[in-house]
Symmetry: C2
Subunit: 226 residues, 2 copies
């Protein structure tokens, strides 16, 4: 037993931070459904924390758009209307296009390789029918894209918007043929970036989101609100 093993490990995160992550993940994963009432005291029991923490977490989530509070009625999981969902796809289109263009103009071969690796992991997840992993790896792909583009502000926005349409995302990746078409479109993004084609990357990224948007539009025509 040497000196290091006597060291006291201090918790890396506060209870509040842990609870926030847990709640955010639970909403994103549809454990709590859109429109569902989030009763503070129930959450206290589920999370095993006091109301103080629950309320503070709810304030965060309100500001993130994942929770809505209207008048005297308590907090509910936010409902993303079809109109909003389509707006979100549009915004993602312009921001992802912007990031893709910046990556292409950067001319960084290592970045292109990292994106390719991330895309390969998406393909692999599709191949294994691991749809949960497809979403996670897609998020990772875009994180690499925005970090590579040095656009952390836009990444914060896109990531937050994406959380609000996660149910829809989960549905679009399951549409027939998406497992082939989706990675093919993303491959075009990566290729354009590797080749340094700014406009090409911009349009490839926009097209990819545009197609997802069309899929979502069709799905929303069948089952409203996500």
């Amino acid at each position: 037993m040497d000196e290091r093993s006597l060291r006291v490990e201090r918790p890396e995160k506060t209870l509040r931070e842990l609870a926030l992550e847990r709640m955010r993940d639970a909403i994103i994963a549809s454990h709590f459904k859109p429109g569902e009432r989030l009763v503070e005291r129930d959450l206290c029991m589920q999370l095993g924390v006091s109301r103080t923490i629950v309320r503070e977490v709810l304030r965060h989530l309100e500001s993130e758009g994942l929770v809505a509070t209207a008048g005297t009625r308590g907090p509910v999981v936010a409902v993303t209307t079809p109109e909003q969902a389509l707006q979100i796809y549009e915004i993602r289109g312009v921001l992802e296009g912007m990031a893709a263009r910046a990556c292409a103009e950067k001319g960084d071969a290592k970045l292109a390789a990292t994106l390719q690796a991330a895309l390969d992991r998406i393909k692999s997840a599709y191949g294994r029918r691991r749809m949960d992993l497809v979403l996670d790896e897609t998020t990772e792909f875009y994180r690499v894209l925005f970090v590579g583009a040095e656009r952390d502000v836009a990444w914060g926005i896109v990531n937050s918007l994406t959380a609000r349409i996660n149910r829809l995302r989960s549905m679009t990746i399951r549409t027939p043929g998406r497992d082939i078409d989706g990675p093919t479109q993303m491959q075009r993004i990566v290729d354009a970036i590797r080749d340094g084609h700014g406009e090409g990357a911009y349009h490839a990224a926009q097209e990819h989101v545009g197609i997802a948007s069309s899929l979502a539009r069709a799905l929303l025509a069948d089952t409203p609100a996500a």
Copy 2:
């Protein structure tokens, strides 16, 4: 004294909501400076509310990006780095361009008139050297633009981003000649919208933000961090 005067007026907003607005406005108006420590108990005294409310307000403002909390050190007013500020201008450029294009494609004469009225108010504020009003009326102009474009999600993003660079905004509108050039550029946006020119409106909006970005870049070269 009739029946109506016996009615109990219930407060429209909770204490928390009022405190949140007050704090947000105070940060935006530079009452609290970037990097300044926001001590909970001090805020309690200044706002006249309990720590509960202060903490919940701080959670909101954290998620909005106006307040930062790092490790064991308490909350501070967020510092927007020059890099972030420039990113924010870039994002505004694409989102405002998108909204302007949507307005132009809408072909709504009433909307164009409302935008013109809003721009006239900006001009009037410039003429009276009321720079605080210039900022307020500019915000109103863009609110009308996004609402007219039916892009409330993008408006939420732009409004929130703009709050983070308000000091810089306050400085750019004060640069020599901006009082003439700014409204001229915005007039081009309004004209393109009135004439139904989608691409024209898009580029006019992008150009306007691009010029503000260049002014900001120059200012940031002199005085870092806002």
